[in-house]
Symmetry: C2
């Protein structure tokens, strides 16, 4: 079975490619390195430097005897993605190939437009290419729990049965996304749902929580197989960032009260979920939506967990509540349903002291490389707070 991983150079795309390669799937990667370009724009780098993708797959082939194909190009170039699908004829397409940073998308017009153009038009090109060259392939698309926002009702998995004035229908769950990035994912979801309905494509839209973690069994096989780990305010996710802050002795910056709750998931469970989606594909015409996370925590709760584990290891830290750069509810109901992946067999790795301890040790090895200046947020959501940073 041929699996094409779009965005296979990234934090999740790379370990997913290795994980599926080990399972015996024939893996092809597409990437245009656009996230690396944003790193240059924003002056941020991953904690540890990475070999070029082309070199990493050589290391992988040497370690395991398994080949991975690479096509370098952008989904926004439709000729490129048409030619790639025609040539590869994938059975499954795992789609990570989107601008992934909410703060970046809120920096200014140019970044918001780039995010929505790149993500929405790229995915639209992909849908048309699938329609032409592999209409039976299963699209496994990475979305985000942040598409839903924080409604005052349980968040169902993509669809909700609504009873209204004596009638009833199963309808797409209403979305109240957090940023132009999250909006781009909502636009994608709507386009994909339509393509399944009208053309009979098959898709699984994975509305994923905040991912944490550094290594997988595969990336640990060789130091040159590691994946990109970010702790900065652009690409760093909450828990990863807190661990870096603890390790380098600066306060753990909690946005606002930190009472905002978020679903989180371990990097290794992301791999598992994607495998489960692949092995239990959607039917023709079906657009399934799974909420892909394993547990919910408040942001402050995550910071406190990191502090507590650090203390047991002899590393003292503090929390600093900073003015919330985002516009989001801090006190809200939060109960997203997440049973579909468990029903398919997901065995969650819950956040434990041992896992946090492992992350702290891992980051400590590269402590000298941390640039603390990139950790505090510089981009605010509202007009008043970042008037000066709004670029045309």
């Amino acid at each position: 079975m041929k699996i094409l991983v779009l965005g296979g150079d990234g934090y999740l795309g790379w370990p997913t490619s290795l994980f599926l390669s080990v399972k015996g799937y024939e893996i092809y990667i597409i990437d245009d390195f656009s996230k690396r370009k944003i790193e240059l724009e924003e002056g941020v780098i991953p904690l540890e430097s990475l070999l070029p993708l082309q070199e990493r797959i050589k290391v992988w082939e040497k370690s395991t005897g398994r080949a991975i194909g690479i096509h370098v190009g952008s989904l926004t170039n439709h000729r490129f993605i048409y030619a790639a699908l025609e040539e590869i004829q994938p059975d499954v397409i795992v789609h990570f190939a989107e601008q992934p940073s909410a703060p970046y998308s809120m920096k200014g017009r140019s970044q918001a437009v780039y995010t929505q153009s790149n993500n929405v038009i790229g995915t639209l090109n992909l849908l048309f290419a699938m329609r032409s060259y592999c209409p039976n392939a299963h699209l496994v698309k990475l979305g985000t729990l942040g598409e839903y926002g924080t409604p005052n009702i349980d968040i169902e998995e993509g669809y909700i049965k609504i009873q209204h004035k004596g009638r009833e229908d199963l309808l797409p769950f209403p979305k109240q996304p957090f940023s132009f990035y999250h909006l781009s994912k909502v636009h994608d979801s709507n386009n994909i749902m339509f393509a399944c309905r009208v053309w009979g494509l098959r898709a699984t839209d994975l509305n994923q929580g905040v991912v944490y973690g550094i290594d997988t069994a595969e990336t640990r096989m060789d130091p040159d197989l590691k994946t990109s780990f970010h702790y900065d305010s652009i690409f760093g996710t909450a828990l990863n960032r807190f661990v870096a802050q603890l390790v380098c002795g600066v306060p753990l910056t909690v946005y606002g009260s930190g009472r905002q709750e978020r679903g989180i998931i371990n990097l290794i469970d992301t791999m598992q979920c994607i495998q489960l989606a692949i092995e239990n594909p959607a039917s023709r015409g079906e657009c399934r939506i799974f909420n892909q996370f394993t547990e919910s925590h408040s942001i402050l709760g995550l910071a406190k967990k990191v502090l507590s584990v650090g203390k047991n290891m002899g590393i003292n830290g503090t929390v600093e509540h900073i003015r919330n750069p985002r516009v989001e509810q801090e006190d809200h109901y939060y109960n997203p349903v997440h049973t579909k992946l468990v029903e398919l067999g997901l065995e969650p790795h819950f956040l434990s002291e041992k896992i946090i301890e492992g992350m702290i040790n891992r980051v400590t090895n590269s402590r000298e490389a941390i640039n603390t200046e990139t950790i505090r947020p510089k981009i605010a959501w509202t007009m008043e707070k970042n008037r000066l940073t709004i670029a045309r």
Copy 2:
């Protein structure tokens, strides 16, 4: 009060500009003539030829003594729209400036991508320009009833109170749009709602039904003030098309059974609704949604009404049910709520025999100009039906 009409060259934008000009508002038009370019691509022209916009405003000024400003350019050019808003400083922005054809958006990849890029990125640029130069202006945005699709429950005006597992919230109404064009409007709505929530912009999103009609009091003032009337399968709306078919003696083409129901609205009521939205603006941070139509009919019902009026006038016609080129439910519940504009004072002009008779007479004057070859649909929604027409 300064009103900027985006897309002021179009079927609705032009008569709206005149209507508001007569009311004493200071009117500025922006257009990039992109719809006219699509007419050239598709080989369709309005029933009656129009003077260039620049000439029409001269006729208007001569007739009424009222000036209208013109800025020629595209919202997708952010420098253009930033400069225009900085210069004009509008109090109200009425936004019609989008690719308006569902069939065109379904023709192939290039048209789908054009539609979503033009509409979504254009509107995103506009939102950022408003944020920078006129954050207090009221955005009156034309959306469509087709954003909702045909759910099995009453369609509320933009938001629905959902009771779920013992909890309750007022949430955006779930959308199941009909085409890539309708999807572009959903993407816009989501982006606008976000901009209101996060930046405090004010907006009214008018989810409009199918518009019919040819003239308004203002366009009748001089033959050179008429608006664009389309009867073709790309831009022609159902009732307008049926009238043209009757007049030129070809069967009225009903897609499928014709039992699909749609909300419709008279061109002159569109003007009225926009005026009401302008005179009763949204608050800062508010994104209101009004369902802008006055009555619902089945497509077959509309065709039969046209036949019946024609018969009384001595013009016999027939209905031909053709294979539905669209993917849509033909038997469905349909009850969109539409009370908000009525509460503001809308006095509907319901579809009457007299109105249809007037349209038939009006089209008969230009009967010789009708190109019947452009009326039957050539673009299908599904893979099988238009495989040959799918362009890269």
